[in-house]
């Protein structure tokens, strides 16, 4: 298949996360080799990454937009989310207590990145003091191909 790119810039405000999901859905709809369930997983991962990006812009008090780039090619569907927030160390995220520990209920946040890692086939997070880029890939698999 031909390589198709779509780029989108959204204001760093909560109401625009739904637009990011919509664009990913529309992009995925052009890619007949991804099953609906996997498109849902990718949408959720994108939503999580955009939420983090918007919160990062809030922390940095910047009016810059959050950038999304979607690419459909022979490997699958790739979405890259870029922010200009203060960055973080993806290797040093706090561990949550086990779910059986009563202290687990103290943690209402911090579920986004573990969820992203569970949902998509490839995740790459590059972060520095000038921003963060999250690359998400949902690969074509033989299970996705509809006869």
């Amino acid at each position: 298949m031909a390589v198709e790119d779509v780029a989108l810039e959204i204001p760093a405000r909560a109401e625009f996360v739904a637009l990011a999901r919509l664009v990913v859905s529309a992009m995925a709809a052009t890619d007949i080799q991804l099953a609906d369930e996997r498109v849902d997983d990718l949408k959720l991962a994108v939503s999580e990454a955009c939420t983090n990006a918007i919160e990062a812009h809030g922390a940095a008090e910047t009016d810059e937009r959050v950038r999304l780039m979607c690419r459909a090619d022979d490997r699958g569907l790739e979405v890259r989310i870029e922010d200009q927030g203060p960055g973080f160390d993806p290797g040093r995220l706090p561990d949550h207590p086990p779910v059986t520990d009563p202290d687990r209920l103290k943690f209402e946040r911090g579920l986004g990145i573990p969820l992203i890692r569970a949902l998509v086939d490839e995740v790459e997070i590059t972060s520095s003091q000038s921003g963060t880029a999250v690359r998400l890939v949902m690969l074509h698999t033989t299970d996705d191909i509809v006869d």
Binding site: V17, R21, E37, D41, E55, L105, L111, L115
Partner: protein
């Protein structure tokens, strides 16, 4: 994008039915409604997620916060959910072990 939140009483339970998409934009409204219910003395809450089209970790955070608040009042928050795409979010985060998840409101309100 709007979030529907309907409340009805069913025996000792308060059933909060959620409709629409729960994300970083709509979660504050959901959180406020849950806090209102707890403040009103509703300490046995069933959150019905059958009308939810999308739920992300901000929605999970609202539910975790609600459960914590209710447990501090010797109450409980249980869920109704049968949609695989919503259940998956709880499974991937291990929260199926934190929340009681029922197949219907009837089941949730007759479980204890």
């Amino acid at each position: 994008m709007d979030l529907g939140l309907d409340v009805k009483e069913q025996g000792k339970y308060t059933v909060l039915s959620v409709r629409g998409e729960v994300d970083v934009y709509t979660a504050p409204k959901f959180r406020e409604r849950l806090i209102e219910l707890v403040t009103e003395g509703k300490h046995q809450i069933v959150v019905d997620l059958e009308g939810v089209d999308f739920l992300d970790s901000t929605g999970l955070g609202v539910l975790v916060g609600g459960l914590k608040r209710l447990r501090s009042h010797d109450g409980d928050l249980v869920l109704v959910c049968t949609q695989s795409r919503i259940l998956k979010v709880f499974e991937f985060t291990g929260l199926t072990k934190v929340f009681a998840i029922h197949a219907s409101v009837e089941e949730a309100t007759s479980s204890s």
